[in-house]
């Protein structure tokens, strides 16, 4: 996608609103905001075409900080609002910012349905495994046993795997990245922005106040390479500080293998984002720390007509088969009579 010639080249600064950013110092949200502002100008799309929609939560303050159109709506409903907006004006580039509470707890159903419809939009799930704004209650991604304000003896709910759910909901684009891994974050965001359909991105985001270091294993430079594996299309799944470990299929299940001693990359699972069957993507989404390195990157990226595109097509088809609009005919309906 290249910028039309007459378009002024925008910079990250152009996308910054005049509002003071009000997250806690050290919050992972800052880094995500910075990357979004950085990649938007690279898309060659005028900024008035962007609409950021969010629900309620710390993360959901996001739209205020973007100098685009935006709506900071109500808790859990951003995706439904975004769907309406995109359907009503398919020309807009719609981004949704949501949290693990906003998007997976109260908003879980809208997530399921927006994704299955394949409405073109980017969904950024800021997953800090906690309710930040309401000050520290557990969320659907909080780990089993986690102690929070509402679980003094530990959470008894089993956490949801957001990517598994997205994949099960027929997602056409699914990815995961980490707030502090800014390069990777930027790449994933760019890919998501270019996807024609719903792009669902889970971002591990650190909440310094209520759930600090929840993702240390996946973000701390000194240990993360043993705990995550980068997914690259067409490449085998290799990870480890010395790139000496890999993921191999053992029958229908993945296993971690040490490379060397007769085990080489050719035996490893090769990542293919484009598989029609989502089962392998699902399997990858089940790989969790500490049993497995957690996959980072694009799990799945396939093409399917969008919801709003099909709707537009259907309107055109209706005009073809039902005739062009004629208000008087419409009002009269099929049967009239005349009184003189």
């Amino acid at each position: 996608m290249s910028a039309p010639m007459n378009l002024p080249t925008l910079t990250a600064k152009d996308f910054a609103s005049d509002q003071e950013v009000r997250w806690c110092p050290g919050c992972g949200d800052y880094s995500i905001l910075a990357q979004v502002k950085k990649i938007l100008p690279t898309l060659g799309i005028p900024k008035e075409k962007f609409l950021f929609v969010s629900g309620i939560g710390c993360s959901s303050r996001f739209p205020y900080y973007m100098n685009t159109y935006g709506m900071h709506s109500i808790h859990g409903r951003a995706l439904a609002i975004a769907t309406g907006a995109k359907v009503a004006n398919p020309d807009l580039k719609v981004w949704v910012v949501t949290g693990d509470g906003d998007g997976l707890s109260i908003g879980g159903n809208h997530l399921l349905h927006a994704i299955r419809r394949n409405v073109e939009m980017v969904i950024l799930l800021f997953d800090n495994r906690i309710y930040g704004l309401t000050k520290g209650q557990y969320s659907p991604t909080s780990v089993h046993g986690q102690k929070t304000k509402t679980s003094p003896l530990g959470v008894v709910d089993y956490p949801i795997h957001p990517l598994s759910v997205a994949i099960a909901a027929e997602a056409t684009f699914v990815a995961r990245t980490v707030d502090v891994d800014v390069k990777h974050l930027g790449e994933v965001l760019s890919a998501a922005a270019r996807h024609q359909g719903t792009a669902f991105v889970q971002i591990y985001q650190n909440c310094v106040i209520f759930n600090d270091n929840a993702f240390e294993y996946a973000s701390d430079k000194s240990i993360k390479s043993d705990n995550i594996v980068y997914l690259e299309h067409g490449k085998p799944l290799i990870f480890g500080k010395n790139s000496d470990k890999g993921i191999r299929m053992n029958g229908t299940h993945p296993e971690v293998v040490q490379l060397g001693n007769g085990v080489d990359a050719s035996q490893l699972l090769v990542h293919d984002e484009t598989l029609g069957d989502s089962s392998v993507a699902f399997m990858l989404s089940r790989m969790s720390h500490p049993e497995f390195p957690e996959p980072m990157g694009i799990f799945r990226q396939v093409v399917r007509p969008t919801f709003e595109g099909q709707m537009t097509d259907q309107l055109a088809k209706a005009r073809k088969i039902w005739g062009e609009a004629n208000m008087d005919l419409l009002i009269q309906g099929t049967e009239t009579w005349t009184v003189n």
């Binding site: 900024k47 609409l51 709506m71 439904a80 309406g84 907006a85």
Partner: protein, 625 residues
């Protein structure tokens, strides 16, 4: 008068009537809605004024022959203008014992009762909880009972069509319809045309239906049992082109029209619910008019998707019934806060909870006014008749975009499914709806999303417009520049401003029309779907010399500015409502008037007689001079 292209010319004495109320009833599978609709269309084409009241069970298809499975369709047709489908029945067609059981109490003494005798067998009688066969036990002796073996006659008529027994039996409603057509001197042509069209893909079925329709007609003509034929002459009706329309059809059309008048696309976010679903279904048939329908996953997604569509510039609506409104409260509050135009249609039904989902009620008024947290005022208007839903939809749209506010439009199950003839307007005659989307910054400091016009409305800048980027949301906003504000005085100011803006709608409300004298003993105030019954009752009482007048409200919030003054000109005020007194509560609070209530919560509209009786008990009759 029967037109000459009908099967035959009348051969029996003809009695002229001013109006007739007839009801078809039978099992859900008996095609009663169809028979009723055809009879209505024919009567309207014939030149009568008509009004209808369909009544179907909550079950899709309860077991055949049972009481809960009964489906009914009532039509009143008249040679003078009418507003209701009638109280008591002049005639009842009962296709089975269950139908008779659940409907006979509405038939006038001396009324015409046609029953399908074939169905009065022990099994069916038991299903209908009849210990004895009512056709034989004398219990129906106060009616003109006609026992007709409709099933048998239909079977005989179609013996040689080659259709199987089941298919043949399905045609019997047309036999009954044919008979009734003869009885009231209606032409069969319109129905014959409809049959041809409807069953064009199954010509054998078409032919069978057509045949049994005619046979029914001939049966009436030839049998000894019917000694007179009744004729209801054409009504003196305002000249014009007419169609028959139900409330939900009119609502759908009204919004398509409003969108076109406003030069907008129509967006509907909705989740199916009885009795609102047919608006969604209707609008799905108007995709060629640029209508975008979104069947959402639930009511919350319905209202919030509509908010998204409104923000980006659609004429945006959401349609539902009471339980759906209860779910949309938070979403509506967001629209109030963001000051976006949006119309919420509540087709009221029997509550609370799931209540009586297929029945009518007016018990959502206070929810419409107050069913949101915080101070979140919203204009509320109501439609008064099926065709009025069209104009109410347009008016709701106009208010929403002019005042940048969500608007609640109240209709009800009675209006939604009921129908009446409608003199259709010319599109070109309808006043346009003006909307200006800013294209330029409205201040030297940039675009101010909460800089208001003289009506206190904020501008509606659309995403995609360069330079007007701005953010809206549910947190309190500073006036003018629209940034989040926790300032106490700003909050007070915005609370007042939002309230004043809604109050400003009053400036558009025309002077209140009073039916009857502008002052007197008793003023009846109604709203919504009770219009027909109230108007008919008041006209009746006035013609008998009672000093009673009536006002029917379209605007429930704000109330008409002249209403307080009108109220003071009457000694007593009566508010008939299909609830426990919701408008009454409002009037009492607003005007400190000791308004009395006539309240009925039975899932049914008012009978005219119920209102008449109440009026007669309240005011004195003037001896006519």
């Amino acid at each position: 008068m029967i037109r000459t292209d009908s099967p035959t010319a009348p051969a029996k004495p003809v009695e002229h009537l001013e109006a007739v109320t007839i009801r078809f009833c039978g099992d859900s599978g008996d095609g009663m809605q169809l028979a009723g609709t055809q009879f209505t269309n024919t009567s309207a084409l014939f030149g009568n004024d008509v009004s209808t009241l369909p009544d179907f069970p909550a079950e899709i298809r309860a077991p055949a022959g049972t009481l809960p499975g009964v489906s009914g369709f009532q039509i009143r047709f008249s040679s003078s203008p009418i507003h209701t489908p009638g109280d008591k029945l002049d005639a009842l067609v009962a296709m089975n014992p269950a139908g008779l059981k659940t409907n006979i109490m509405d038939l006038k003494a001396g009324g015409l009762l046609i029953v399908n005798e074939d169905e009065f067998n022990p099994t069916n009688l038991k299903k209908a909880n009849y210990a004895n066969n009512p056709l034989d036990d004398g219990s129906l002796k106060s009616f003109q009972l006609h026992k007709i073996k409709i099933s048998t006659l239909n079977k005989e008529a179609l013996a040689d069509t080659g259709l199987n027994a089941k298919a043949v039996d399905r045609c019997k409603n047309f036999f009954a319809l044919g008979l009734v057509y003869w009885l009231y001197g209606r032409p069969v042509e319109a129905t014959l045309r409809w049959i041809e069209d409807k069953f064009s893909k199954t010509p054998d079925v078409a032919q069978a239906n057509a045949k049994t329709l005619r046979m029914g007609y001939y049966y009436g003509e030839t049998t000894e049992s019917f000694v007179v034929q009744y004729v209801v002459p054409t009504a003196k009706i305002e000249p014009g082109t007419y169609r028959r329309i139900t409330g939900n059809e009119a609502t759908a059309l009204g919004f398509v029209t409003a969108a076109r008048l406003a030069n907008k696309e129509l967006f509907l976010g909705s989740y199916p619910i009885t009795p609102a679903s047919t608006i969604l279904e209707e609008l799905n048939r108007f995709k060629h008019y640029g209508v975008k329908t979104f069947q959402a996953e639930d009511e919350i997604a319905a209202v919030t998707s509509s908010i998204g569509a409104a923000y980006v510039g659609a004429l945006s609506i959401t349609t539902t019934s009471g339980p759906g409104v209860a779910l949309k409260g938070e979403g509506m509050g967001l629209a109030v806060m963001m000051e976006l135009p949006l119309i919420i249609v509540d087709v009221q039904r029997g509550g609370p909870s799931t209540g009586l989902p297929t029945k009518t009620e007016q018990a959502d008024l206070l929810m419409a006014l107050f069913g949101r947290h915080g101070e979140s005022p919203m204009p509320v208007i109501a439609a008064r008749s099926p065709s009025d839903c069209y104009y109410a939809a347009i008016e709701a749209s106009r208010i929403a975009v002019k005042y940048m506010t969500p608007v609640m439009l109240l209709t009800d199950g009675y209006l939604a499914n009921g129908s009446e003839p409608w003199r259709v307007p010319h599109y070109a005659d309808l006043p346009g709806i003006e909307i200006q989307h800013p294209l330029e910054k409205n201040s030297v400091d940039g675009y101010m999303p909460y800089k208001r016009d003289k009506n206190l409305s904020r501008p509606w800048a659309l995403p995609g417009t360069p330079g007007l980027e701005h953010r809206v949301g549910g947190l309190e906003k500073a006036d003018v520049h629209g940034n989040v504000s926790y300032d106490p005085d700003n909050h007070q100011h915005m609370i007042n401003t939002r309230a004043q803006k809604v109050a400003n709608v009053a400036q558009d409300i025309p002077p209140t029309e009073i039916l009857g004298d502008a002052e007197g003993d008793l003023l009846i105030i109604g709203w919504g779907g009770t219009y027909g019954s109230i108007t008919t009752a008041v006209e009746q009482c006035r013609s008998k010399g009672f000093k009673v007048s009536a006002v029917h409200l379209r605007y429930l919030n704000p109330l008409p500015p002249d209403l307080g003054e009108i109220l003071r000109r009457f000694d007593r005020v009566l508010v008939p409502e299909l609830n426990r007194g919701q408008l009454r509560l409002l009037l009492r609070a607003m005007y400190l008037v000791d308004a009395e209530g006539l309240n009925k919560v039975k899932g049914k509209p008012f009978l005219v007689s119920e209102i008449v009786e109440k009026i007669e008990s309240m005011v004195r009759q003037e001896v006519s001079v």
